[in-house]
Symmetry: D2
């Protein structure tokens, strides 16, 4: 697949971090993946992020990761830009994944810090600089301190942004003070993309000038997130308030079923399974919901759909 | 290489977590590795732990990891048992590494929790149980919460120890209250091995009944750690106090050069380089010491050697 | 002073957490305090919060705290409602402070969890319930986990809000996901006040329906925060964006002078001193800025004032 | 009461952090306190620590704290040295408490960092230096980062130890690596006392040269801790191992009843109540065990007593 699509600078809109549909350990749900991609594209999303946290990338074998990227790129065929996560504790594996993404026809790469050892800022700066010189595609920085333990400080991001290939950041810190500091550093760089991760924070970030969201909920309800983005972009606050409430409802219900912190991914995959889109198999160290939790997700899903209908949100 | 060596139950003594000598990103220092292995074996160690934290395993490509395990197993040729780290965020990669370790002739495997997502105790229990059923060798649990974010609670370890293949634990929590709780859970199971990680805690753990240590400093000074272990085992407290002081000196000097938390691995590799054993190349996201820090390590190394001589510790 | 003023339900607007001007350890800067109160009232603020974190309450003796509350209440004379912090590790001291606040004529009390021991949610619930039965005034819950270590979970706040005297919450968690969960819990309770602490988050919280801010920067620039609140309330996004930028500038410069986490309070007190309002003495364990840092604050203050002028913000 | 007793340098042995017996909020159980003091003195302890964490000092009013110190000093009448906690978020209140302790005839003071704001090392150093100049008695530093959030780094302790009045440290970090670093800093200062807090770590710290323990369990079983200290001091490892097991049993059972982190204090007070020594009332924000937990403590207490008898530990 030739990479004939230009990456917008900045990249604006909703870029769902798509789940990786699985049939078993190390076995892709290829048909489910195909349905998932068409489902979110039908919702009007502005790009796809493959192999992120919601995509369970670290839990997958490198072979399966490459297989999934290849399938998605082939299917999307430049309809929207594709961003591919290359985060890895091993430099060599990140380079290898980046090459596979370029070969498949992706438009950009996404990199969080190596997540076993904690690197200090000068170390991170040197690491990313080394890595970028080996990468065939533009790079988004991915700030995800809750899981990687290392944060990209705003000053470090500013230095990295001097590298031509570093084109943006996805901030999943859930820390809006950090986010505003970051925006301050890039006030004069409107080409540098700043996206936020948690669903709950997309509306306010866009209202105050952010470029969009990489929101897990857009796997299930792409139209909702796209319409919320548009309302925030056009400063239709009444509509923002209305749709933001549903986003908070989703995050407060479907993402919180069961007893474990892993309920976000389990909740999304279960909902997608109930919607007939793909399998609910979850990669180790997690495991799909048992029937009690699945039934609970089914009920919550009905409630959310009812609210969406009441707000006139068509579902793809 | 046939696996003709029996793994002692419990495994007692000093099992150095050997560094992985490197010439560059994804390039093994094979000659250095050979010298390193003979160096620690000459010090009388009771086993080797390959691909642990000190071995920078997560920073290495899977291919390089397998190559290193194969070389070490071939060289050791059953002189001591070899434990191989299979910790990975991907279940499939852990299984693959375990098979490679068995093929190479290793005696046991070592597993910390997947270190991207945080799993709760029931999830960890299910995960390890699933994994063990796919493993060709006995398994040591590896508790390393500072880097993995997930802890193996003593009750979870007790449940895992009911699996025949789970034979011991390496506790690198640096939390002696946790260690004593663990020992309490296994009071009636003298076959279940309990080893501690941090150099600084080996003496007291063995004095109070522990089985030994997996101590990074034994890369440099295997005899020191072996003699300290023996003194603690034979309850020669005066000797313990004398040698324990040097262990604390090492950890307070060579491990703390420079400004970053990564100084432990950098310090050990620099010292080994100064001793003519192997390269000081450090895997990304870290980088070898510059000359100022290297010179500082050289001075500290001289001081430690002087103290070792004063205590009658022969160096291999 | 009789308490003849009614507390609005909800309480909306900017309620500055005023600093406690000091001349020395345990010595109030009474004249400075008088100037400070008139300065913020002239800016149009909607209330005052005395003895909060910015007020260094925990660092002051109980006698000085009571003296300060009495002075402020006497001076304000019901022009705006006064909220008084009664947070204490000792139940008896909280009760005593509450009585002093009522005697002085304050309108409400503010309570964070006891900040030495960490209490779990059922313990916190029981604690606040016991305390409220001994309090002579309405109570705001104060969520400040970074300093108290205990969080008030949204469900706990909901249960506490069933007590008639519990009228609102000040959320200083800096966690907008928490904030949105809280708002969700109180969707049907428009009389229950929800205020946010950090300056940087006031604009977005009010845009999405919050009641206002308890913002330290309003000590220096009350008009800025009042105008930003009004712009957010009237959904004038262009004006919000313009003023929000200055708020972020303040928080990114004046609050970050020097090397320590204590720079927020030191920065505000130094700026107030440079403005001729009150002393820059800071209570132990902190100490006022030396001249290098003071000069830096002076320069930053000039920059902020220039930006305020450019935005047409009159300063009181 | 004149302070006619000399404080040993170093202070060695078991210094129980005695609980503060209470009849209600702000009401001392004076008779229970008297029985408690005689109970621990009969066990052969080497000092008393009044108003520590186990003493719930931060939860008590300042008046009650002073009343309790006065009663204990009067009763002990120089039979053993008395250390009084003066930790406070307010400098002025610490000075006031120190004066009360000196007036009552105590021998030394104990100070943890102010526990609301987090002070950095240079700030802590300046703070303690200022405070010490106002103190009428020798001072022990108290390292308790889990509750105060600030740690006294070994280098800071070394600098503070240059002040004549700073005579020792109580380390309750539960971090034996920190403890060994601290011991290293003071190798040449045998007059500087180093005591450890958690019960579980006393044995090993004394085996490796520490001076003793400030162990909550000595409220219940002073003889056990004194005999364990003596066994460690005389390097009777077999006896150490035997008694250390019971200490771990106590910490793993009586301290872990119920669901909350507050179970240590509740467990000790409940056991003391069951032993007929003092009331089980616990200060807010905690609350005494209900009957189910109380019954559980009763059963655990019986088990511990049986083990003590089997080891020949007489109970006072």
């Amino acid at each position: 697949m030739s990479n004939s699509m230009e990456l917008p600078r900045p990249l604006e809109g909703i870029i769902p971090p798509i789940v990786t549909p699985l049939l078993g350990v190390d076995e892709l749900d290829a048909a489910g993946a195909e349905r998932l991609v068409e489902h979110v594209l039908a919702g009007g999303v502005h790009g796809l992020f493959v192999l992120g946290t919601t995509g369970e990338a670290p839990s997958l074998s490198h072979d399966l990761r490459k297989q999934f990227v290849a399938q998605v790129c082939r299917q999307v065929a430049n309809r929207v830009p594709i961003l591919v996560g290359i985060t890895d504790t091993s430099f060599a594996e990140s380079v290898s994944m980046a090459q596979a993404a370029a070969d498949a026809g992706a438009q950009a790469l996404v990199l969080a810090p190596p997540y076993y050892f904690m690197a200090d800022q000068p170390e991170l700066l040197e690491y990313v600089t080394h890595l970028v010189s080996r990468l065939p595609l533009p790079l988004f920085i991915y700030n995800m301190p809750a899981l990687t333990k290392s944060v990209f400080q705003p000053n470090t991001v500013a230095k990295l942004a001097e590298l031509e290939q570093v084109v943006g950041i996805k901030d999943s810190s859930a820390n809006m003070i950090y986010y505003h500091q970051l925006r301050r550093v890039f006030r004069q760089r409107e080409d540098f993309t700043i996206l936020v991760g948690p669903d709950e924070l997309m509306a306010e970030s866009v209202l105050l000038g952010g470029h969009g969201g990489v929101n897990g909920g857009a796997n299930m309800f792409p139209t909702l997130y796209v319409e919320l983005f548009n309302a925030a972009r056009t400063r239709d606050i009444a509509r923002v308030a209305q749709l933001h409430e549903i986003v908070i409802d989703i995050a407060s219900t479907i993402y919180r079923v069961g007893h474990h912190g892993s309920s976000l991914i389990k909740g999304i995959k279960t909902a997608l399974s109930l919607m007939g889109i793909c399998s609910d198999f979850v990669a180790e160290p997690f495991h799909r919901f048992r029937s009690a939790e699945r039934n609970q997700v089914a009920r919550l899903l009905d409630e959310i759909r009812e609210k969406l209908r009441a707000c006139g949100i068509a579902q793809p």
